[in-house]
């Protein structure tokens, strides 16, 4: 899904049901100032959502296999047991000698039934405070992106609108635009 979102620039605004300029032009009952302000707010929303999705995608691409392992049998060796004597035999041989600690060693075994061949791949996942901070940052980015998606979709369903502009980033609009939208986003 992430690959598709980043390959097609129209997919994210469509997923989030953000209005295009033409949709805003066609919407009755709006002043020109409100249309312009809504267009800005939709652009800001899309930029922020894209930024969140970029963080989430990087995290997903790098660690989704390892994340699955935390749910299916804990296929990990602690880095310390891989590098401290007496080590972990063939697992230790596959590890870089100077990996920054702490780290975990994910194991992936693939069985080729036809060739009767078994291969265990040995990886590493860095677990320094900085790395863990980035895991948490990606989780929060996913939450923010989901909140905007769910909020927009729900509001559209409740008000019978095909497009919605969430108020999430209203505070990032210029004051004049914010003032123009006050009647549409009552406090």
């Amino acid at each position: 899904m992430f690959a598709r979102l980043f390959a097609d620039s129209e997919l994210t605004p469509a997923l989030y049901r953000l209005p295009t300029r033409q949709v805003l032009v066609d919407e009755p009952g709006l002043s020109d100032g409100q249309r312009q302000a809504l267009e800005h707010l939709a652009s800001i929303t899309l930029m922020r959502v894209d930024a969140h999705l970029a963080i989430v995608r990087r995290f997903w691409d790098s660690l989704h296999d390892e994340a699955k392992k935390t749910m299916h049998g804990l296929a990990f060796v602690a880095g310390c047991h891989g590098v401290e004597p007496p080590g972990a035999g063939m697992i230790t041989r596959a590890l870089p000698r100077d990996h920054v600690r702490p780290f975990a060693v994910p194991l992936t075994t693939r069985v080729d039934q036809l060739a009767r061949h078994v291969n265990t791949e040995v990886g590493t996942v860095a677990l320094t405070d900085g790395d863990v901070g980035r895991f948490a940052e990606a989780g929060l980015a996913a939450l923010d992106a989901t909140e905007v998606l769910v909020g927009g979709r729900l509001h559209g369903l409740e008000t019978n609108h095909a497009f919605t502009v969430p108020r999430s980033y209203l505070d990032q609009l210029a004051p004049a635009h914010r003032a123009a939208l006050e009647p549409l986003f009552p406090q």
């Binding site: 049998g73 602690a78 047991h81 972990a88 035999g89 063939m90 697992i91 075994t109 078994v118």
Partner: protein, 304 residues
Amino acid sequence: MTELRPLPTPDPQTFLLPARAYLLSMRDQNLPMRRAALDDAEAHYREAPQGTDHEEQIARIALVALVGEALQILEDLAAFGDSFTSAPEGTAFFAALTNYSSHRISNFYAQMRKRPLDYYLDLLGLRRGALRLEEAFVIEPPFSDEELIAIEEAHRATAALVRKHLINLAEEWRKYRPFSNAYRHGLLVANAGDVTLVDDSGVEVEGIVVWMRRRVSAEGYGHIAPPYDRMADYLAAAGRTALDVLEHLVDSRLRIFESIELRADGSWTVKPLKTLPWRWWFDKKDVSEGSLELLSARFNMTFE
């Protein structure tokens, strides 16, 4: 007991050293992490306010999260236990553990009731085929016939307790797995106002409903009924039982490594044993008084 009998030893680089590292990782890292996650999920449920309808729904979601964390441990336990019999030939047990199969866990639990006690003795590492663990060591003075019978009795009582726990956990896995799946795959907990839960006779009942995944149409599943606080007690206890069983299995397998000094090049020497190379865990009523007395005297231990 300070010597191992000369038995064929698996290749240390492929089997012994990786297995030791994996078991130590389970004991030192993975299991404490699961215990913390279970405690955290339980505390989150207990602390959730339940004053309004919305808060009640949040608390129900927290209870489903507790199911998820508890059943996560059941999955770990099954994956670990299954790996000892399903590893491809010529590979260590963790090869099976690290080769994901979507049916493994349910198949493992489905077989628990049918398995003979011998299976559990193997699972615990108390024997390997026909070879009993106590026969792998040179014992001075040798065990008497009565002591060997008492040891066998304690081994079988341990296997019986683990079997009982696994059979019970198999039922929890069957009943609550859809909740666990809902937790893992998007917290698919239905709003109480959106669904009506009925029993087999069509009578409306109260309970938590989760959405089933991969269905043609919207399909709910409900098997958690109030009082929810009691359900939280029950589910947390199931998770902790699974943790206890898993810890016992890991510890049983680690004991053998305490009898040898393994070096990085794969060479090893026998160490003086400080503890028994096995760990008993049984209901006292499952071992005769006479056997308990014999074991207490021989191993200088007490049974609680």
